[in-house]
């Protein structure tokens, strides 16, 4: 019912095509032998076919490039490229043509046109071409809005727009998990799953640590001086497959010293992922800052520096403890050592350790022995802050394997 809307033929036509990478043509090899009925006919047909590989016609994957056949999928982090062609379909010269390409996302509108200058005139059967590129940074609906304005020979100003909508999908699923080691090291396990429908070549998966940490990637194995990937020769990730990457983060010296600094929620860093798909189509994503809750140590932290793994029954052995003041105030500490039914401490209990300032630590060598064989838990240390009359208990701080001395001799 376009009664009061006379149909208006535009002089210009706007065409848009997404430029995904071209694909390689594959042919279907059908061969026969000299003695078969067709003789060398089939082989000759394949030789004459320009899409086969010269000299290796049976090879399916040819060299002929074909243009993309459909819009395909586009994923976050990939680059959206598109050909925009404005063609003068009429037989008259059109003037002052302005082509504008905007990309509307759910949050913003971006101008993608290479030039914003108007073209003075366009002769019949001529084109204005533009290839636009945009790295996709948002998920969800995107609309490419192409607007064309021009002036006809009659001086009439004309304008039309076209919309092209596409969905940007999420390519990867990333999950992380932290392990806190006793030694202040943090291990990060990252699972990266390919949730697209095509294989992905993982070019780079790296952890960019925050300023507090140094990172060691644990995704290669040293064999005979060569660093081989833990994923073997398989460099790509099949659809729905998940890879697990492992990183070890060590606090930098200056931060490790000040024990109080790494406390509570800390920023660890972010994962940087670069992948490639068909003919080098590239995608890159980063995670947001990974955060972890540093284990809380209360006001006073007692950590073990050295301990033997195996000791003899009823023979004294030494351990070294490190006591760190994690609180904001100076402490005056007294150490008590309480025996358990297997662990017996040597030395004086209730000795003064002196004043300990915030974020400082002291090392303590202790001697003890075990009266029971087997895996024994080192427990029974008590620190009392004489200012606040508060006692901190340290049980199960380490385990040690206790064996009979005769067994050890034999072995």
């Amino acid at each position: 019912m376009d009664v009061n809307q006379p149909k208006q033929e535009h002089l210009l036509a706007l065409k848009v095509m997404r430029l995904t990478k071209p694909t390689l043509f594959t042919n279907i090899p059908v061969t026969c032998e000299e003695r078969d009925l067709p003789g060398n006919l089939f082989n000759q047909l394949m030789k004459d076919d320009p899409s086969t590989v010269n000299g290796a016609e049976t090879l399916m994957l040819g060299e002929m490039l074909t243009l993309p056949q459909n819009f395909g999928n586009i994923f976050l982090g990939e680059t959206f490229s598109s050909y925009i062609s404005v063609h003068n379909d009429s037989n008259q010269i059109v003037k002052d043509i302005l082509v504008k390409a905007d990309l509307q996302t759910s949050s913003q509108r971006l101008n993608l046109s290479a030039s914003s200058a108007a073209v003075a005139e366009l002769k019949p059967d001529c084109c204005i071409d533009d290839v636009i590129h945009h790295e996709v940074k948002e998920i969800g609906t995107h609309i490419l809005v192409c607007a064309v304005s021009y002036t006809t020979q009659m001086g009439e100003k004309m304008y039309f727009r076209k919309f092209f909508k596409f969905q940007v999908l999420k390519p990867l699923d990333v999950k992380t998990k932290f392990y806190n080691a006793e030694t202040d090291e943090v291990f990060l396990e990252a699972q990266i799953q390919n949730i697209t429908t095509s294989p992905m070549f993982m070019e780079k998966v790296s952890l960019e640590p925050s300023i507090m940490y140094n990172v060691a990637e644990l995704n290669t194995v040293d064999t005979a001086g060569e660093r081989a990937s833990t994923f073997g020769s398989r460099t790509h990730l099949q659809p729905m497959d998940t890879r697990q990457y492992l990183y070890c983060l060590k606090p930098k010296q200056e931060f490790a010293e000040k024990a109080g600094v790494i406390k509570g929620v800390t920023v660890i860093g972010k994962l940087d992922i670069v992948w490639k798909t068909n003919l080098g189509e590239r995608g890159r994503l980063q995670t947001s800052q990974l955060q972890r809750m540093a284990p809380g140590y209360g006001d006073v932290r007692l950590s073990l520096e050295t301990i033997p793994d195996t000791v003899n029954l009823e023979e004294p052995f030494d351990i070294t403890c490190k006591i760190t003041n994690c609180s904001e105030r100076t402490m005056d500490l007294v150490l008590e050592m309480c025996n358990t039914n297997s662990i017996h401490w040597c030395g004086v209990s209730g000795r003064q350790l002196g004043k300990l300032h915030p974020s400082s630590s002291l090392h303590l060598a202790l001697t003890l022995l075990s009266s029971v064989q087997g895996l024994q838990s080192v427990s029974g240390l008590r620190l009392t802050d004489t200012f606040l009359k508060r006692t901190y208990e340290y049980d199960d701080i380490a385990q040690v394997c206790v064996i009979s001395s005769e067994v050890k001799k034999e072995s």
Binding site: L24, P50, S51, M60, L61, V174, T277
Partner: protein, 820 residues
């Protein structure tokens, strides 16, 4: 991101529109380039769920479009076509439901709204309300009524519940302070624990507010964003549902529709009810010429093809040599008994023969144990009855009469009119000699459909025509060659289903009546299989084109075992089949050469098949599959079960190099392209460097071209179309007729924004040598560019059709012209 406030405001304006009844659906259909894009202007979908059907008169309101509507553009979520959408969605939901059921865990569906686009910034561009309507009028012609599926809510629910992961191991002890650890953390529960869904833009409070809904396994969802994207991530983005649409592969695009004919058995009563029949050799006393020209003069069967004179019930045949005609038995003896009767040595038989060297070498094949026993019994017991299970006989017949004629002509009738169509003259089955000579003529003139037809006629003359499937028949060298040609052409025409139908009666190509020994009187002294080796290859390759690469690999593996065994026999000084025949050294050498090249051909097919598997985009590789694959290759190369099909394909191509060392440069380049395709540019480069070391195997020009070609591809992989174009052009400088370089250079030009230049190059190429360059890939590119160039692509495509009509036979794939 917009605030809630602005959302609410927009929602209000949307409902206002609804009140006034102004529902305008705009659909811009952009031919094939962008599929059908659906743009909805109007806010009424905003809060609607379920399906929204455009009413018939929605176009009537185009004139009522006003500026307010332009401000709010609501996008429907139907990507290309609504049916797909719902299909995929349904499927996804099912999965989710299963997962939910499994975990007994209800995930909360956060109701968030469809991404709403407000483009205030746009108002400045709106000049008059009239302009807006032009969006529609521009494509008025192609406007079609179509229902649009709106499934916002379901989809959003999906987002919140999709990646529920099960992790059997609990390894949480080491992190007691996890801020979001839950009661279950640290408790070693053997059951799997689902974890929260990971949306890309998951917010921190998401984790905090609904933790009790999820048990936690310690993994946290991570937000992924583009590195250069900084401003927007802080706010939760209402992510849209991910309806992943697999892009159809090229083969699908060019795929032919297959016509299925009714089964022959519908027309013919079953021959016998007993599963045992007697078999006679109708030609037993008459000498049948073995030459290929035997079916020459006419299609009439009097001379060349023996009558299908199989007797049922009484054992005497008219044509037959009475002594060895075999009788049907009402109470067949058990097979074990038969074996006992015919147990004997084949040595006497084998040595008595004087086969021609060439025949023996080419026809050699190792039958299965069962078939071998039948063949021995046929050879040794000529005066008794041999009972053969009907299931063990090969009874082929045409499954369809005539495949549709000339698609080019049909298109001409449709687009160019009758007058033009009359000019289209191609050979058909009637216009050539009804013989092998005519057949070859049809094949070489690319009239494969007609050639299939002629094969059918010649087979009909042989008694294996339409409807003869399931009826006893006999086989000759010629009949099997005809079948091979017919089936090969069907595959070349991509009529895979048809080929499969007609292949079916041949079983696994190992039935006793497919061996020469089965016809001692027709082929006295001849041994081996009548089935051409190429037909076995064809048979093995076929399932992969029908989506069953596993079956193909199994069959190829079987062939590989036989080839390997034959080579082993030859090395041990035996004949191909393991008998003690004396073979002259030079003949042995020739035989080893032949069988090595055959084994290489099998490996080639395996490699191609493995490559196809990846192209099919098969999302999962079942464990059984992996096992099969491993079995295939333990012989030649070592690798573990976990490796994927790419790696397998590459390894298989490496194996092929061993058998065809002269093809090393091409194959290495091919492997390089495989790596390019998966995006592994570095490895591709490594292979291309290896090629440059191996090019001494080629002549100067060819090696030069190959090196340049590979460099061009490498630049392509690095997104450097300008450099790639430079290398392709360089090839043209030394070999101006190189079709690949021509075509590829043109493709590069398009990516560089030079549509007209690209078109000029392709058109020039097609005009220069239409005989060679009217290739479907080139034409496909050309028509795609025509569509991009102007609205008048139809005329140009029709001009291409005329060019095709002059040069191409009936086998031309008209799909690439996109005349639809």
């Amino acid at each position: 991101m917009e605030s809630n406030g602005s959302n609410a405001k927009d929602a209000k304006s949307a409902s206002d529109e609804e009140d006034s009844g102004d529902r305008v659906q705009q659909k811009t259909r952009e031919d094939i380039l962008f599929h059908e894009e659906t743009i909805d202007l109007g806010g009424d979908e905003f809060e609607s769920e379920g399906n929204e059907t455009i009413s018939e008169d929605s176009n009537n309101f185009i004139d009522k479009l006003n500026e307010q509507m332009m401000e709010s553009v609501i996008i429907s979520d139907s990507p290309n076509n609504s049916e797909d959408d719902t299909g995929e969605l349904g499927c996804l939901q099912e999965i989710v439901e299963q997962m939910e059921a499994k975990d007994n865990q209800k995930t909360a569906a956060e109701v968030s709204k469809e991404a709403f686009l407000s483009n205030e910034s746009e108002t400045e561009h709106e000049e008059t309300p009239k302009d807006i309507s032009e969006i529609g009028t521009d494509d008025q012609a192609s406007l079609k009524e179509e229902s649009i599926q709106e499934a916002v809510k379901e989809e959003l629910k999906l987002i919140n519940s999709i990646p529920v992961e099960r992790r059997p191991n609990n390894i949480d002890e080491s992190k007691p302070e996890d801020p979001i650890s839950l009661p279950s953390t640290g408790k070693p529960t053997p059951e799997a624990e689902p974890i929260p869904v990971c949306t890309i833009f998951s917010q921190a409070n998401n984790v905090n507010t609904q933790p009790q809904l999820f048990l936690h396994d310690g993994f946290e969802p991570q937000m992924v964003k583009s590195p250069s994207f900084s401003s927007i991530i802080e706010t939760p983005v209402k992510s849209n549902p991910q309806v992943v649409q697999p892009s159809p592969s090229l083969s699908k695009f060019f795929g032919d529709t297959v016509n299925t004919n009714t089964l022959a058995s519908d027309f013919f009563d079953s021959f016998t009810t007993s599963s045992f029949i007697s078999v006679s050799n109708p030609n037993a006393s008459s000498s049948v010429p073995e030459q290929m020209s035997s079916i020459s003069s006419t299609g009439d069967s009097s001379h060349a093809s023996p009558d299908p004179t199989f007797s049922v019930g009484n054992g005497r045949t008219e044509a037959g040599g009475p002594p060895n005609s075999l009788e049907i038995s009402q109470s067949p003896k058990p097979f074990s008994q038969i074996q006992a009767v015919f147990a004997g040595s084949d040595d006497a038989f084998a040595t008595a023969l004087n086969m021609s060297e060439l025949d023996r070498r080419n026809d050699a094949w190792l039958p299965s144990e069962e078939t071998r026993n039948v063949l021995i019994s046929v050879a040794t017991q000529q005066y008794s009855t041999v009972f053969i299970d009907k299931d063990n006989l090969t009874m082929p017949g045409l499954k369809f009469d005539n495949i549709q004629g000339d698609a080019v002509k049909d298109l001409m009738l449709r687009f160019l009119g009758e007058q033009a169509a009359v000019k289209r003259q191609v050979l058909n089955a009637n216009s050539v000699e009804q013989s092998f000579v005519g057949l070859k003529q049809l094949i070489s003139s690319k009239n494969w459909r007609a050639a299939v037809d002629l094969c059918g006629r010649l087979l009909t003359a042989h008694g294996q025509g339409y409807g003869k499937s399931g009826l006893p028949t006999n086989h000759t060298t010629d009949s099997l060659q005809l079948w091979f040609v017919r089936l090969a052409l069907l595959v070349k025409l991509s009529l895979f289903q048809n080929a499969e139908m007609e292949f079916e009666p041949f079983g696994n190509l190992d039935q006793p009546d497919l061996y020469y020994e089965y016809y001692p009187h027709v082929y006295p002294g001849r041994k081996g299989s009548m089935v051409p080796f190429s037909m076995r290859i064809l048979h093995a390759e076929l399932p992969q084109y029908l989506g069953n690469p596993q079956e193909s690999l199994d069959r190829l593996h079987g062939m590989k075992i036989v080839c390997t065994k034959i080579l082993e026999n030859l090395e041990q000084g035996l004949a191909e089949d393991g008998s003690m025949t004396n073979i002259a050294q030079e003949n042995r050498q020739a035989s080893v050469q032949l069988w090595r090249s055959r084994l290489g051909r099998v490996m080639y097919s395996m490699a191609n098949c493995l490559l196809m598997m990846k192209m099919e985009k098969s999302t999962e590789l079942p464990s059984q599959t992996a096992a099969t694959l491993e079995a295939c290759f333990t012989f030649d190369c070592e690798f573990s079960l976990a490796l994927s099909d790419y790696v397998l394909a590459v390894d298989a191509y490496h194996t092929v190099i061993k058998y065809y060392p002269q093809q090393e440069p091409q194959l290495l380049s091919g492997i390089g392209r495989i790596f390019l395709q998966i995006g592994d540019i570095k490895t591709a480069e490594k292979y291309f460097q290896d090629v440059e070391k191996a090019t001494h195997k080629l002549d100067g020009l060819q090696s030069q071209i190959m090196v340049l070609m590979n460099r061009a591809f490498l630049h392509l992989g690095q997104n450097n179309f300008a450099e790639a174009h430079r290398f392709f052009t360089e090839i043209l400088r030394i070999d101006s007729s190189n079709a690949v370089a021509n075509n590829n250079a043109a493709v590069c030009l398009l990516y560089l924004g030079k549509l007209k230049d690209s078109l000029r190059q392709l058109e020039g190429m097609v005009q220069q040598d239409p005989k060679h360059y009217l290739h479907e890939s080139v034409l496909f590119n050309l028509t795609t560019m025509y569509e991009l160039e102007s609205s008048r692509s139809m005329q140009k495509k029709q001009a291409l059709l005329e060019a095709v009509a002059l040069k191409e036979g009936d086998s031309f794939n008209t799909q690439c012209l996109k005349l639809g």
